[in-house]
Every structure is written in structure tokens, then in C-alpha cells.
Amino acid sequence: MTKILFSEDHEYIKIENGVGTVGISDFAQKALGDVVYVELPKVGAKLTKGGQAGVVESVKSASELYSPVTGEVVEINGALTGDPALVNSDPLGKAWFFKVKIANENELTGLKDEKAYNDFIKGL
């Protein structure tokens, strides 16, 4: 079964068989506005939890994408580079950024489940 967790930096990670699919939350895409550019990590890149994994730019802002976990990038979503607007239209679906082989599942305990995340953003 797929589990989805969120970071306080508004990344989500869907976990399946030790591999996490990472993107940004619906709240984040709304805050950014029209996304115009996405920079993805390279396949094979070693990411650390909280470290920079990419960049997402809208017309008005530029934000770093942080990795919610430590691990190695196993796949990136090339479709996003050609059509960054996917981040606005389908953030939790087609607009995933990269897949990461999770090095340490214990790191997941610091992340929020959907309900906790929704409560968190209500307080912002």
C-alpha cells in the first residue's frame, strides 16, 4: 500500500517498496502560482534529508526543493522540464519530481501524515 507523507517545507513523499516519489504539495503550488521552470536532480545523485534536491520557479518566486529523506535518486520526471505547468494542474499525480531509494526509513518518522499536514498549513 502507498503511504503519503509531507514535510514542513511542503514536499510530499509517496512511499512504495522502499522507494519514495517526491513532489510539492497542492498548498505549495498554489502559493507559488504559475510554475514556469523546474530543475531536477540527476539520476544517481545522493540526497540528504533537508538538502537541496532541485529548484522550482514561478513567475514571481524561486524556491528550493528539499529532499524529505536521505537516499539515491533512481528516476526523474523528465515530463516536468518540458511542461512545468503540470505542477499546477496535477501536483500529487503527474507532477512528481523524482524517485529516491530511501536509505533510512527511520527518517520518515519526522514527517507528517495527510491530516497532520493539513492541520499544519491551516495554522500558517
Binding site: D34, V35, Y37, E57, S58
Partner: protein
């Protein structure tokens, strides 16, 4: 008794011409804001602790003709020789149709940076022409809309290559055939960033390690060298290739983009922009596609409007300091739009054939000149060249220079027996003959220009002859008659809103009157035609004017010294922080590198601190928008061993005079730091308070805000800094002019010793005309106007921040954020709706997202303020209809603003409001209506697909179908 003659002389007349509201209007407005007099208002607004009892004395006010006569007597002390010094500055003929209709035309020079693209399509088109000229002539795929000058462009090329290149090396390799001021500006920039600069022969440098190499083509010596093999070698070693070049030369030479350059830049001055003793001029900057997300400066891009029509806008703004702050690619803000536009129009007017003819004539005369010199027995040291011939004159150099001076000609003295002669658009056959006579010391030579013309070949190597076409776009072919050009210029001008149409109430930008009398001296030949490296004895008029201006700025700020070198506010910040850095170093405190910056600061502040090699620590603001003293105290104490500076804007970016400013300065000083004051808001202080007395150690003055230099549609600007006595020794110097800067001067921050010297008379004239009392009154009325707007709009839009007694400074922030929730109306909707009223929007979303910041300045009269207030009042009533559900959120005059003539006359009208209410929401519009040429522009489309070249003509016809 008759009226005294002293009163009839109208000696204060300019004051009331500059200040908008009349005495009776001032009285009425004072009643509205609840003050009994202007002085009373000031006591309510300015903290007592900083208020001057009497205004700093700059002199009595003058009449317009008196001020011009006095300045003319100074100008006449300049001796305008023919300067063949070259070194990056070449004389040029500004086509008169461009001189009068652009450079001397308020429709072009009073416009603002085109952040609101719908009302800026004219100059955006001109700028995209400039980008097209740059791309075509350099052979590069991407160009920006200008830089401040060639020297700072070289420095930007260095940091760009470092950022993007991914090389582990920390060394920047610089060819010794670059202009000396370029090398000096690069060295200044490299030092705080810890970049090693190695200067040497290009062929040797490429053998070394480096992240990039800087070449100049043609070189400062004039030499035209084939660098293709060298560029290939650099590429194989992961060394980026940056090339400084010359647009006129590139009409004949193989462009750097065709022989391996990664970054190409240079000055566009010789495309019709007067020498002006060093500026203002536009530099151009081009790069390969890989650099597009990191290239500095503004880029104009093509997008579409809401009807799908092509429209221009500023693209990829997320690179820039106002968004990315300390992570920005550069601190550059405004560049040199007016001058870039002049250069672009020069290319439009001449077209590719015309440019090629000018270049070929210049080259032929140079080739003939060189051949004659050889006949006269001189050794020409440049084998191949375009316009510059370097001659080894050995021990005869000085006598040749003095013979040249007798003929009122300046040559370049390399100081080693070599002399340089740079011919240009103004050169003639007669001039070449005179030069031969000067070099030889003889009258009769036995040969002539005409005789040599037939036999002398071109001096450009075959492999470097340009074969590719350029400027093929129709724009560069359609406007060759003066009638067509005149109409093209007017056609573009009338698409834009400038100060000659209506008030531009941009907060923090001080869009005040740029009086005609202030502008007139700029194009006087004594100011306009001076070469920046002319001998000082020829520039005594400039020296006198510059010294007087420096002294007056010192008086107004209470600083000990001023440097006029920084070419923009951002450059002033940079020069100021470098000065602070040098001061700490002189005290053995080189490790001080922490720069505290309040969260409300302009984006340039953190971007500048990073450029100066400092580490940014952000301090908090309290709920009233003021610097949080507790947080500042804690952070200053925490970093006290490493504290270098605080950057603070005063009055604050929130438009408030903070009571605690003295305490803020004291906290920094007590912890070993220096206070950098951002002078963007100095218009609220002139004559009333002095930064030097408040505790600031350095402050820049935006002469293009407070002191009347026009914004030029996004440049030029000037950002001189004033400093306390302890910092004066470190003010920036210049390698080519003695006597510039302090005794322990830091390197130059601009290519020219006095930045954009030829626009400094504007500020000089303003200060002279207004006098002590006029300057003070201007500040008082600027404060009155802002408070009048805040008060009158209070019940429609609350003012976000106020001072202790409920007043704002010279600007006010209107809180429009609740309207997003109540009506789905954004700050953009309001800004675009204001266009329908013929107004430029206030500053949007700075310093607080979702709000509007209004700065009316003293120059707007009550009638114009009332018109603006009426517009915002009508808009609030329209929003109320959306709130009540009378109009749907997506279909109302705000959501669909701006309205074009095409909207109004379309057959179909399916909107819940009338055509009349859409296009003519105020009665005065029926007789004088500004129409935006496009509907609202889609920013996302333009950023997702960057196009920075002129769109093909078919793009317009397709959209029309």
C-alpha cells in the same frame, strides 16, 4: 508703495514650478491631514531626535536663466578637443531625429522601468530591438536589455562564468589586451569574492588553470586576433570564454559567437550615444543558452496577452535581486534603458548597410592612416586592426602629443612610447591628413589620402571577415527616411505612460519632475562631447561642477566626502560596503564579514552584501514594520566579533520614520560595525535631517530619485555615496585619472571615473534652482502629499504602517490584501484597472506582498492627486459590487482590465458592465483617454518559453486573424 523690485525679480519662481500644489492647495491639504502648517506637519512626522533646527545651507534659489548662465560659465571651461583616445569610448554622431525625439524627449526619458508591461509596450519593443542588435552582431542566441557599463559587464561575466561553469578552479584569466579600466573593475569585484585574477598574454593564459578567460576583440591596442583555436583549447579545458567586443567592429568582423565565445559583452556607446565624459552609456551582454537562468540584468521577452496577441514583458525575473535577494545572480536593478534604446534606434535608422558603411569608412581611414604612418617611417605595432592603430613613437611620443594638442586633438598615451589613435564615425580624410602632419611634424607630405585609398588593402585578416548576415528583421529596414523614423518613434512613445502623461506614483522610486531646464545642459557639447580620459586641464569645467555638486551633497547629508563614481543605487551600495570593508581591514579587522539586514530591506541590499563578500544575517521587523530592536541587539551582540555592517533604509521601506534610528545606529557601532544607510528614501529627509548626524557612516543617494535625474524608462541612474571622515580615504579611485578617490582608494566600481558624468548637471541645476529653502519645502510637500493620499483613501484602503503620531513619511502602503478574500480581487487587478484611468500603478507587493505602495512626490499638484484618489475610490466601489455578487469574480472591470480599444469596439460584449464603464470609468477620460495597446499579459507563457528576439512580423498577422 510699489511692490519692491526684489519681489518682482521672481527669484523663487522655480520652487513653485517644481512643487505641484499651490499655496492655497497646501493650506487645504494641511487641513485634511490635521496640521496647521508644513513645519507643524514635520514635527508630527519626523522624530525630534533627528530633526534639524535649520535647513543645511546650499545657497539662495536662482532663476532658470541664472542657473543656466552660471553652469554655462563652468561648461565653457571645458576644452572639447577631438579625442582619438579610444579605450572603450568613441565619438559618434547622434542622428538628430533621435537626439530630439528620444534623448531630449520627456516621453522617453521620464518613463519608469517597464514592470507594468501593458503600459510599456513602446520601450519594450525598443529594448527587444536592442537585444536583437546584440544577438545579431555578437552571433549569440541570448541577450539582455543592457548593463551599466563595459567594466561592470566584465565583472558580471566573471561571476556568471563562475556560477554556471561548474569548474573547481577559482582563477579568472584576463588578457592584457583588455581596456585597463575593465581589468581594474574586474579586480575590484574579484577581491572580496576570493577570486584570483591573473592578467597576461592570452596565449599563455590558456595554458593555465582557470574557470574562465576574458579576451577583448578588437583589443585595447586595436589588435584584431583570431582566437578560434584558443577558444577551442579553453573549451577542452572547461574554461569558459568571455569576450569584450565592439558592435561597430562586428559589422565587419566574424562575431565571437561564431568562434566559440560563451559570454559576449561591451559598450554600445558608439551607436549614437554622446561620450558624456564617461556616461551614461548602455553596455550590451549576450550569452549562450546554458546561461539563460543566471544571466544578470533585465531580459525583455515575448509573451501573449489574454487575447493571444504577441506582447512584450520583462522575462525570468526570478533571477533578479528583488525576488532572489542574497541568492540573486547580481545586485543589478535598473540598467541603461534610455541609452540602449538610443543605440537600438541608431541601428534601426542606419540599418545593416548604413552601419556597415560607417564601419567600413572608419576602417578604411584607419588603414590609410596606418599606411601613411609607415611611409613616414613609423612602426605600427598592430598587425591587423579595425579602427585603432597603435604606433611605437619611442622618445618622440611626448612631442607628438603636444603637437596634437596644438591642433586640439587627443591621442592615447600608453606611457611606454606607444601612442594609440582610434578613428570613429566623425573621422574624415582631412583629419587623417592632419594626423600625419602631427606625427611627422611636417606640413607637406608628398602623398594624399586619395592616392593611398586606391592601393591600401583592408587590415582585417581573411579568416576574420564577417560572412554572416545581421539585422535582417524588417524593423531594421522600414524606417530609413526621417519621416518614417519620426513616426516610428512617436508610435512607440505613445504606447507608454510617462510623466508627461500622468503621475507615476511608484513607492520608493520618487518619480518627481525632471525639469526641462535641468535636462538642457546634458546635451551641451561642453558636457556631451568630453572623453572620460581627456587630460584634466581640458576638463576644468567638469571639475568645477563635480566639486560643487560633491560639496552640496556633503552639506545636505552632513558627510565628509562624496564619490560620484557609482552608476546606480546598487553600485552605491556595493561601493559603500567595499569602503566599509577596506576600513575594517585598515584596523586589522579584516575578519569582520557579517552584514545585518532587516527583513523589510530592498532585495538589492542582501544581493550587494554577498557581492561584497559578506555573510547576510536577517533581523526581524515588529508588527508595526519597524526594526525589532530586541532582535537587532541580540544579533549584533551574537556576531559582535565579526560584525561588519548594518544596511538600513531610512525612512524605512515601510514608509515610516522610525523613532529609534539613533539607537539602531548606536547598537551597531557599540558592536564594532558600521552603518550603511540605503538612501532610496532620502527625498523624505533633504533639508529636514542629515544622515551623517543620525549615525550613518555611509549612504548612497539615488540622484535619479531625490535629485531629479530622470528614470529614462529604466536607466540611467546615479548612486553616489557620502561617507564619514573615517571612510573618506577608501573612496574608489580610477587607474586612468589621477586625483579620483581617497588616499587609500579601493579599486574602481565603474568603468568611468565619475560614472555617468554628463547627467550630473541635472542634479546640480536642481540644487542650484531650489536653494536651501526650496529643497526643504520640496521635502515637506512630498510628506504632505503622501499623508494627503493616505488620509483621503483611509476609508477605502487602510494604510498599513504609520509613525508614532499616525502619519506616514513620503509614501504610504495601502493594504489591499483583504480584497482577495472578500472579492477575489488581487493587487494585480487593481494595478491593471488603474491603466484604464490612464495611471501607472503604484509599487506592487513591495515591501509587503499583496499591497500597494504610493509615493506621490512633491511635484504632483492637488488636482492630479485628487484624480488619482478618485480613480482608487471608483475602483473600491467596483470591488464592492463584486463583493456583493452583482458582478461575478471572473467577469468584472477589474478582472478583465486593462480594456483596449479593440475590446470596446468588438461586436460581441458579454460582460455585466457597460462598454462605457469599462473604458471610461472617470469623466475626464472622455476627452483625454490613454489606451493600452494590449490586454493583460500572460507572464507564465513568456517564462515557460523564453523568446528575447524580435518576433517575426507574421506573428502579428496570425494573431489578428
Amino acid at each position: 508703495m510699489p511692490q519692491p523690485i526684489a519681489e518682482l525679480e521672481q527669484r523663487n519662481d522655480f520652487i513653485r514650478r517644481h512643487i505641484g500644489p499651490s499655496e492655497s492647495d497646501i493650506a487645504a491639504m494641511l487641513r485634511t491631514v490635521g496640521a496647521s502648517s508644513l513645519d507643524d506637519l514635520v514635527t508630527k512626522v519626523l522624530p525630534a531626535a533627528i530633526r534639524e533646527k535649520t535647513a543645511p545651507v546650499t545657497g539662495d534659489s536662482m532663476t532658470e536663466h541664472e542657473a543656466l548662465a552660471l553652469l554655462d560659465s563652468m561648461a565653457k571651461q571645458n576644452k572639447v578637443y577631438r579625442s582619438l583616445i579610444g579605450t572603450g569610448y568613441y565619438d559618434t554622431l547622434t542622428p538628430n531625429v533621435i537626439l530630439r525625439n528620444v534623448l531630449q524627449n520627456p516621453g522617453w526619458y521620464t518613463a519608469y522601468t517597464p514592470y507594468q508591461p501593458e503600459i510599456s509596450q513602446g520601450r519594450l519593443e525598443a529594448l527587444i530591438n536592442f537585444q536583437q542588435v546584440t544577438m545579431d552582431l555578437t552571433g549569440m542566441p541570448l541577450a539582455n536589455a543592457s548593463m551599466l557599463d563595459e567594466g561592470t559587464s566584465a565583472a558580471e561575466a566573471m561571476t556568471l562564468a563562475k556560477r554556471v561553469g561548474g569548474s573547481a578552479s577559482n582563477t579568472f584569466l584576463v588578457s592584457d589586451d583588455c581596456h585597463p579600466q575593465t581589468i581594474a573593475v574586474v579586480e575590484t569585484r574579484a577581491k572580496p569574492l576570493g577570486i584570483q585574477v591573473v592578467v597576461g598574454k592570452a596565449a599563455d593564459l590558456v595554458e593555465k588553470d582557470g574557470f574562465a578567460i576574458l579576451l577583448q576583440y578588437p583589443g585595447t591596442s586595436g589588435a584584431v586576433v583570431d582566437y578560434a583555436a584558443l577558444a577551442a583549447k579553453a573549451k577542452s579545458k572547461n574554461i569558459a570564454v568571455a569576450v569584450a567586443t565592439d558592435l561597430l567592429a562586428l559589422t565587419l568582423l566574424k562575431p565571437p559567437g561564431e568562434w566559440g565565445a560563451d559570454i559576449v559583452f561591451g559598450s554600445a556607446q558608439r551607436f549614437g550615444v554622446p561620450l558624456g565624459y564617461g556616461g551614461p552609456h548602455a553596455a550590451f551582454f549576450a550569452a549562450q543558452d546554458a546561461y539563460k537562468r543566471s544571466i544578470p540584468g533585465r531580459i525583455v521577452g515575448v509573451s501573449v496577452d489574454s487575447k493571444g496577441k504577441p506582447a512584450y514583458r520583462l522575462a525570468l525575473q526570478t533571477r533578479e535581486q528583488h525576488i532572489r535577494r542574497e541568492k540573486a545572480t547580481s545586485n543589478i536593478c535598473t540598467a541603461q534603458v534610455l541609452l540602449a534604446n538610443i543605440a537600438a534606434f541608431y541601428a534601426v535608422y542606419h540599418g545593416p548597410e548604413g552601419l556597415k558603411t560607417i564601419a567600413t569608412r572608419t576602417h578604411r581611414l584607419a588603414a590609410i592612416f596606418a599606411e601613411g604612418l609607415k611611409k613616414l617611417g613609423f612602426q605600427v605595432t598592430t598587425a591587423h586592426f579595425f579602427d585603432t592603430v597603435t604606433v611605437d613613437c619611442g622618445k618622440h611620443a611626448q612631442e607628438i602629443i603636444s603637437r596634437a594638442h596644438q591642433k586640439e586633438i587627443n591621442l592615447r598615451d600608453f606611457g611606454d612610447g606607444r601612442l594609440g589613435v582610434s578613428l570613429d564615425e566623425k573621422s574624415t580624410r582631412a583629419e587623417v591628413f592632419t594626423l600625419w602632419q602631427i606625427f611627422s611634424g611636417k606640413g607637406a607630405l608628398g602623398f594624399s589620402v586619395e592616392a593611398l585609398d586606391a592601393s591600401v588593402p583592408d587590415q582585417i585578416p581573411a579568416a576574420l571577415k564577417r560572412t554572416s548576415e545581421y539585422l535582417t528583421h524588417p524593423t531594421f529596414h522600414l524606417y530609413r527616411s526621417e519621416t518614417d523614423m519620426l513616426r516610428y518613434l512617436r508610435h512607440l512613445e505613445h504606447k507608454d505612460i510617462a510623466l508627461n502623461r500622468s503621475m507615476i506614483p511608484l513607492g520608493s522610486c520618487t518619480m518627481k519632475l525632471n525639469a526641462t531646464v535641468e535636462m538642457i545642459p546634458v546635451t551641451w557639447p561642453e558636457f556631451g562631447n568630453m572623453h572620460p580620459f581627456a587630460p584634466l586641464d581640458q576638463a576644468q569645467g567638469y571639475a568645477a561642477m563635480l566639486k560643487d555638486l560633491e560639496q552640496k551633497l556633503c552639506t545636505l547629508t552632513d558627510f565628509a566626502a562624496v564619490t560620484l563614481q557609482p552608476n546606480a543605487g546598487s553600485q552605491g551600495e556595493y561601493a559603500g560596503l567595499l569602503t566599509i570593508r577596506a576600513y575594517h581591514e585598515s584596523k586589522g579587522q579584516a575578519h569582520r564579514n557579517i552584514c545585518l539586514i532587516p527583513s523589510s530591506a530592498h532585495g538589492t541590499n542582501p544581493a550587494t552584501a554577498v557581492m561584497a563578500g559578506m555573510e547576510v544575517v536577517i533581523t526581524a521587523c515588529d508588527d508595526n514594520g519597524n526594526v525589532d530592536l530586541g532582535d537587532l541587539r541580540a544579533k549584533a551582540a551574537e556576531h559582535k566579533d565579526k560584525l561588519a555592517a548594518l544596511m538600513v533604509t531610512y525612512p524605512s521601506t515601510h514608509g515610516v520614520f522610525e523613532e529609534e534610528i539613533r539607537e539602531i545606529c548606536k547598537i551597531i557601532h557599540d558592536n564594532g560595525g558600521q552603518v550603511y544607510m540605503d538612501g532610496a528614501n532620502f527625498n523624505a529627509m533633504v533639508g529636514l535631517a542629515c544622515p551623517g548626524k543620525i549615525g550613518a557612516d555611509v549612504m548612497h543617494m539615488n540622484l535619479h530619485k531625490t535629485f531629479c535625474i530622470p528614470h529614462g524608462g529604466g536607466g540611467p541612474g546615479m548612486g553616489p555615496i557620502g561617507v564619514g571622515e573615517h571612510l573618506a580615504p577608501f573612496l574608489p579611485g580610477h587607474p586612468l585619472l589621477e586625483g579620483v578617490g581617497g588616499e587609500n582608494a579601493i579599486g574602481p566600481v565603474s568603468a568611468a571615473p565619475y560614472g555617468s558624468a554628463s547627467i550630473l548637471p541635472i542634479s546640480w541645476v536642481y540644487i542650484a534652482l531650489m536653494g536651501t529653502e526650496g529643497l526643504k519645502k520640496a521635502t515637506q510637500v512630498a510628506i504632505l502629499n503622501a499623508n494627503y493620499i493616505a488620509k483621503r483613501l483611509e476609508k477605502h484602503y487602510p494604510t498599513l504602517y504609520k509613525g508614532k503620531q499616525g502619519y506616514v513619511a513620503h509614501e504610504c502602503i495601502l493594504d489591499t490584501r483583504p480584497l482577495k478574500t472578500s472579492a477575489g480581487i488581487s493587487v494585480d487587478d487593481i494595478a491593471k484597472r488603474l491603466m484604464d484611468f490612464g495611471f501607472h500603478a503604484p509599487t506592487m507587493s513591495f515591501p509587503v506582498p499583496g499591497t500597494l505602495m504610493i509615493e506621490p512626490t512633491e511635484s504632483e499638484g492637488k488636482a492630479e492627486l485628487d484624480r488619482f484618489i478618485e480613480a482608487l475610490t471608483v475602483i473600491r466601489a467596483e470591488i464592492a459590487k463584486v463583493e456583493k455578487g452583482e458582478w461575478p469574480q471572473g467577469n468584472n472591470p477589474l478582472a478583465l482590465a486593462p480594456h483596449t480599444l479593440a475590446d470596446l469596439t468588438a461586436e460581441k460584449w458579454d460582460r455585466p458592465y457597460t462598454r462605457h464603464d469599462g473604458a471610461f470609468p472617470a469623466a475626464h477620460l472622455l476627452t483625454d483617454k490613454y489606451w493600452t495597446p494590449v490586454n493583460r499579459i500572460d507572464h507564465a507563457a513568456g517564462d515557460r518559453n523564453l523568446v528575447c528576439a524580435c518576433p517575426p512580423i507574421e506573428a502579428y498577422s496570425e494573431a489578428a486573424e
